[in-house]
Amino acid sequence: MNDITLIKRAVKGDKRAFEALLQENYDVMFKMAFKYCGNRQDAEDITQDSCIKLARALASYKFQAAFTSWLYRLVLNCAKDFYRKKKPEAVLNDSHIGAINAEAEIKTYANEILAQVYALPENEKSALILVMSDGYTHAEAAIIMDCKESTVSWYIHEARKKLNILIEKEPHHG
């Protein structure tokens, strides 16, 4: 059964359909969340929030955008809320940077790049990940982020600028 059928059934109150929809999309949602936050713990929490949120929000999906895009937007919103709720010091202490080391064993340089990416402002980070990691076009990213295409371009531009500046400050990686 495809997502559309499942969604329609779930909106009518079919619990099994909703469960199937979740089964189908959990991994995707987890991936979205992980890319956004960069560590397993937060990604799991955000995904869980998103699943619960989906139960409430599904009825408002109007089949206009692709479901994946709509879902992505939901996950991103949940992620933002998640960090807004979390204490600032906690975010600094145990969120991104340390977690990258432990979680994804990637080489140091990439690690540092990621650390810089995760330090970007929310929207710039989202835009960057959507476009450069997930391969969405600026127009598609705009739908997910619920803004204009030109705004996405602007976020990416800003992100690039910041990353360049930040990285140039470290001559070691030139």
């Binding site: 109150g13 619990k15 099994r16 469960e19 979740l22 089964q23 959990y26 991994d27 987890f30 992980f34 960069g38 397993r40 713990q41 799991e44 929490d45 995904t47 869980q48 929030d49 699943c51 619960i52 949120k53 989906l54 139960a55 409430r56 929000a57 009825a59 408002s60 999906y61 937007r73 939901l74 919103n77 949940c78 809320d81 998640f82 709720k85 979390k86 204490k87 010091e89 145990d94 340390g98 979680e103 994804a104 064993e105 990637i106 990439a110 790049i113 990621l114 810089q116 990416v117 960057l128 990940i129 450069m132 990691s133 391969g135 619920d146 690039r160 990353l163 360049n164 930040l166 990285i167």
Partner: protein, 696 residues
């Protein structure tokens, strides 16, 4: 920065595979929320959304921390006290100190705990408390529309992860090590929780949505101003089963869930039975000293209903109306219901008919009226039932009554038996309309009984009212043994009414009694004039039922709680006839035979001859003295009433505490064939522990 590197890094973000257990938990939570949302969409708002209930902080201090208290109790009292103490210490430090300080407080506390070699559960407690502080409870949120578009509407707070038990896989030791390494330097602790407990199953409901009608405890009345007390009898027992369940889980029940008369009437008493069916019951009256206040007395009324001999039993035309909605999908609901039904089948005669109507998303007849002799067919229909979908109780009720009506037998007992966890959402969603419907049907000869299941979503109030309007009983089934009690041992009481609209009126003699207070029956109060009015509905008694009512009275000359009005007429001036000088009161019982519409009257004076000198047996010294003690039944019912008052936090309990109740009940165990009285004593012990914990 190198664009290529950035691109490559981002493309190659190494996303780990999701953890199956975490996924399962998220799915379960989402499904539970899904159900909540569906319910909310279908009817008016009926409680808290699931989320707020799952965030630890939000249900703190509600006195319903089931998990917590249960764990504590089972962990042993001494252990529990230690944990509470330690938690208390670290809480204090947290509020005054910094985040880091809190962590070291954690460690100190944990080290202490480890030294004391406490049960693993105790450690969970510590973390649960900590978790409760770390996260702020979210605001309740009801917006369903546009939730995705607007940031504000997606108010979801972090899930209470650290509260998941970590003791399952021997983690405590590892964890302690981890924390020892991190030292007090404030390196952030990351709990890697190896095994999540899948907390809520689909359709899981945290407690706190059970609905009880609220009522105030009866107050003391003065005989000079209000000499007559009137109430309807109540043979329901639902309250006791519900209370028992809560206490067994380590929490004291909500006060409104405690209906003392239902607790008393849960037990079977060996009162003297009536001889004939025409005069179907006999009151037994006893007056004993009150254990609650020195100088006061208790007026104890026991009524035993006529028990139908097996060959006298009328045929039964039963229609079961079973709730198979999603919320019934729990071990203590649908599966228990099915097993209970199988028990009941055993007690039916081959000639009786059984039909089954189910309701969920849609209502449907799954079994046309079938003779009980065709047991296989009935069992097959039962086995095919499964829970799913929302609740359309009212539609089901119509169908059930229609079936009962089609198969109506004037000679038989025609009864719809509703089994549910308490939600009627669709169709006649207005409770008033539903009650009217049941009442109209009652007049046509089809009665309604209610079997309640499960908790968390239990709508006690509506069930009570439906059963009352349907001339039936409301019972709460929390276990198979309870099902046995209600459906097998008391089958005839549950199924065959011997009298309906049974009302009790007590006329107190102002020369003997100054004040009185009825224990329980708050929800059954009737006006004085209702007693003789046959149009006023009241409770029903089934075959062999016993009903007990207790008044606490202050004799004239005793220490009164209420002062007379300055202008009140002195009793001397209204001297009652001297013939009544040894009469405390006059008891009147009105009832209708099941198929009659005019009432009959039974009366009996309550005199000093009914008086016993002792309530307890261990207060008497000589044999002669002990003869004048109350019998076991009186003693036991007073113990139950005392327990009920303690649970309700009654202001009339006086100096009697849980230990006093245990002592009293110990002296009243009688034969106790099925062990209900022994179970009661255990329950009081548990309640005592739970109460002690709640105070901390």
């Amino acid at each position: 920065m190198d664009e290529k590197h950035l691109q490559k890094t981002l493309e190659e973000i190494n996303v780990p595979t999701p953890d199956d257990n975490v996924k399962k938990r998220a799915l379960n939570l989402a499904l539970a929320e899904f159900e909540t949302v569906q319910k909310k969409n279908e009817k008016t708002f009926q409680g808290f959304s699931l989320l707020s209930r799952l965030i630890p902080g939000s249900n703190k201090n509600t006195g319903r921390e089931t998990m917590k208290n249960r764990k504590l109790i089972y962990g042993g009292m001494a252990t529990a006290m230690a944990v509470v103490l330690i938690c208390g210490v670290s809480v204090q430090q947290f509020t005054t100190g910094s985040y880091k300080k809190q962590q070291s407080a954690d460690e100190t506390a944990l080290a202490t705990l480890n030294k004391a070699a406490l049960a693993p559960e105790a450690k969970e407690e510590l973390f649960r408390d900590r978790a409760a502080q770390k996260y702020t409870p979210p605001l309740e949120q009801h917006t369903d529309q546009g939730a995705v578009q607007s940031d504000e509407s997606s108010a979801i707070s972090p899930p209470p992860q650290p509260i998941m038990p970590m003791a399952r896989t021997g983690a405590p030791a590892e964890m302690t090590m981890m924390m020892a390494e991190s030292g007090a330097a404030g390196v952030s602790m990351s709990y890697q929780i190896p095994d999540y407990e899948i907390m809520p199953s689909p359709g899981y409901h945290e407690e706190g949505r059970d609905k009880f009608g609220d009522f105030e405890e009866n107050i003391i009345k003065t005989v000079s101003t209000e000499p007559v007390s009137t109430f309807s009898i109540d043979v329901d027992t639902a309250s006791y089963s519900f209370v028992r369940r809560q206490i067994n889980e380590g929490v004291l029940p909500p006060k409104d869930a405690v209906r003392i008369e239902e607790m008393i009437n849960y037990f079977d008493y060996d009162y003297e039975p009536p001889e004939t069916k025409v005069r179907p019951f006999k009151p037994t009256v006893t007056i004993v000293p009150s254990p609650w206040k020195d100088g006061n007395k208790l007026l104890h009324i026991g009524i035993k209903g006529y028990d139908i001999a097996p060959d006298e039993k009328p045929r039964s035309n039963l229609v079961f109306l079973l709730d198979v909605s999603g919320s019934m999908n729990a071990q203590d609901k649908l599966p228990l219901l099915k097993n209970s039904m199988k028990l009941l089948l055993e007690t039916l005669s081959p000639d009786d008919t059984v039909a089954i109507v189910v309701y969920a998303g849609a209502a449907g007849t799954v079994l046309e009226p079938t003779k009980a002799s065709d047991k296989n067919k009935i069992l097959q229909a039962l086995d095919q039932l499964s829970a799913g979908g929302s609740t359309a109780g009212a539609e089901g009720i119509r169908q059930a009554y229609q079936l009962a009506g089609n198969n109506f037998d004037k000679e038989a007992v025609n009864r719809v038996i509703l089994a549910t966890d308490g939600d009627f959402n669709v169709g006649i969603s207005n409770p008033e309309e539903l009650k009217d419907f049941v009442e109209r049907k009652r007049k046509s000869g089809v009665f309604l009984s209610v079997l309640g299941f499960g908790q968390g979503n239990y709508n006690d109030h509506l069930m009570q009212e439906l059963a009352q309007n349907g001339n039936g009983v409301a019972v709460y089934i929390d276990s198979l043994s309870e099902a046995r009690k209600v459906l097998v041992e008391e089958a005839s009481a549950t199924l065959f009414p011997i009298a309906k609209d049974v009302k009790i009126q007590i006329d107190f003699n102002p020369e003997m009694v100054a004040e009185y207070r009825l224990v329980g029956y708050e929800t059954r109060h009737l006006n004085r004039e209702d007693f003789n009015n046959d149009a006023v509905d009241a409770g029903d008694i089934g075959a062999g039922h016993t009903v007990t009512a207790i008044y606490e009275i202050t004799p004239v000359g005793g220490k009164r709680a209420v002062e007379d009005s300055r202008y009140a007429v002195k009793t001397e001036d209204t001297k009652v006839h001297t013939d009544f000088s040894n009469e405390y009161a006059f008891l009147k019982i009105r009832y209708k035979l099941p198929d009659e519409e005019t009432s009959n009257l039974i009366t009996t004076p309550v005199t000093t001859e009914n008086e016993r000198d002792n309530l307890l047996t261990n207060t008497c010294s000589t044999t002669e003295d002990c003869v004048s003690s109350a019998n076991d039944d009186v003693r036991f019912s007073v113990a139950v009433a005392s327990f009920g008052q303690l649970l309700k936090g009654s202001k009339y309990s006086g100096k009697l505490d849980y230990d006093g109740v245990i002592d009293m009940a110990q002296q009243a165990r009688s034969a106790d064939e099925f062990g209900y009285r022994a179970e009661f004593i255990n329950l009081v012990r548990l309640a005592k522990s739970a109460a002690a914990l709640q105070k901390n």
